[in-house]
């Protein structure tokens, strides 16, 4: 089973120390393409939570059966199958939800955060731990993608929560900036996403450095990151 202390460690790792978006810089392709507004970012993250916890759990269950040499094709097989299974089941049994989440789920197949967590975590850890690792990594993605999407939407169009009416029909988007705000297209386009993501990474490293300075510790080495798309 899993203890509270372990759960807490996984939670902290996923949301801050090893945050998939601002530390591991993984899965940038769907991430930057989709995070054009807050709702889209959150929806992609929700779909990722479902897929990552499931794939982590299944791979961890099967981890002793998978020879090391062919682990990567097997992981991809498992991840792709699970994404399709999730896609089909949501389409068939929760069609309302599919209309909202549907376009995001196939994007996750190409998201290497799934494969990265399988390889780095689920292949070595117990099923329940892997399940929570996947879910919490997805949560780490949730707040970072929400923040990135929110910033892009706010700077790009002056609104927040646009698209919420497809989830709760009676709600509408919030107009934060004046209605005659001309919009700033760069924030919506992919370069804007890279710039804002860079700012978020810088802010995270600055917060870490400040916390270390207050604790009279040598500042932590900025984590070397190897992004992939």
């Amino acid at each position: 089973m899993i203890t509270w202390a372990e759960l807490k460690t996984i939670f902290q790792n996923s949301n801050w120390n090893q945050n998939p978006c601002i530390v591991q810089i993984l899965g940038l392709c769907p991430l930057l393409a989709v995070s054009t507004n807050l709702i889209n970012g959150v929806m992609l993250a929700l779909a990722t939570i479902i897929v990552m916890s499931l794939s982590g759990f299944v791979v961890s269950l099967l981890r002793h059966l998978i020879p090391y040499e062919i682990r990567i094709p097997v992981f991809i097989l498992i991840a792709a199958t699970l994404v399709t299974v999730v896609d089909l089941s949501i389409n068939a049994f929760m069609h309302e939800m599919y209309l909202i989440l549907g376009i995001f789920i196939p994007l996750i197949v190409t998201n290497c955060i799934v494969l990265a967590r399988i390889e780095a975590y689920a292949a070595k850890q117990k099923p329940l731990h892997s399940l929570f690792d996947g879910a919490f990594m997805g949560m780490g993605l949730l707040w970072t993608l929400g923040l990135l999407g929110g910033l892009r939407e706010l700077i790009g169009g002056g609104t927040l929560f646009s698209g919420i009416e497809s989830i709760v029909p009676t709600w509408t988007a919030l107009q934060i900036l004046p209605a005659d705000y001309p919009g700033f297209m760069l924030a919506i386009l992919p370069p804007g996403a890279f710039i804002l993501l860079g700012c978020m990474i810088a802010a995270k490293n600055w917060l870490d450095a400040r916390a270390a300075a207050q604790a009279k510790l040598p500042p932590p080495e900025p984590v070397a990151t190897a992004g992939c798309h």
Binding site: L65, P67, V74, L77, I78, T81, A92
Partner: protein, 218 residues
Amino acid sequence: MPFSKEPTAAGMAVRTALILFLFVVAFTTVLASMHALTAPAIQASAAEEEMRMIKETLPQALYDNDLLKDAKELPATAEIGQDQPSKVYLATLQGKPSAIVLQVVAPDGYSGKIRMLVAVRSNGELAGVRVTQHKETPGLGDYIDPKKDKNKTRPWISQFDGLSFAKRTEKDWAVKKDGGQFDANAGATVTPRAVVKAVRKALRWAEANREQLLANSK
């Protein structure tokens, strides 16, 4: 371990290949059974969705028949972007043909095919256009779907309503950036260009085959 018990390279290769094969068989089985299990429900909701979409392209006042029943199969037609047989719905009002609804494909969207419904009235005017399926970039090109369009009072796709070649010449039938008359949001031109072009071709084709399409009823 005695030397003779060490697996040979060939033995290892066969063993790994076999394991990989078993994994593939197992997971393909999962996929296939999942597909078989969900296919009826997915088809049912797709049909429901289809009818809902048709209702959006075609004003209720234009027909009094069961459109899903009065649908005919069209052979693959390049002019409407269909490389597979598609359906055409014939709307009739008191027995008289009033409009047709075509399933049109724009093959050159930003990320793949854009599927839509194009409703043409018997006088050659467009009754409405709706995008039914697309993979355009969320937040950028997806405003072709009125649900995702920020402009709720006059969504982009409503530009087509009531248009015909009598009202807009073929030369103007392009996005403004290409010298035509159709608006397009900045940053995503490929998507509206594909839609505008596909609707133009479909309308042209419907006009050329007007008699046959409308006579299809009996």
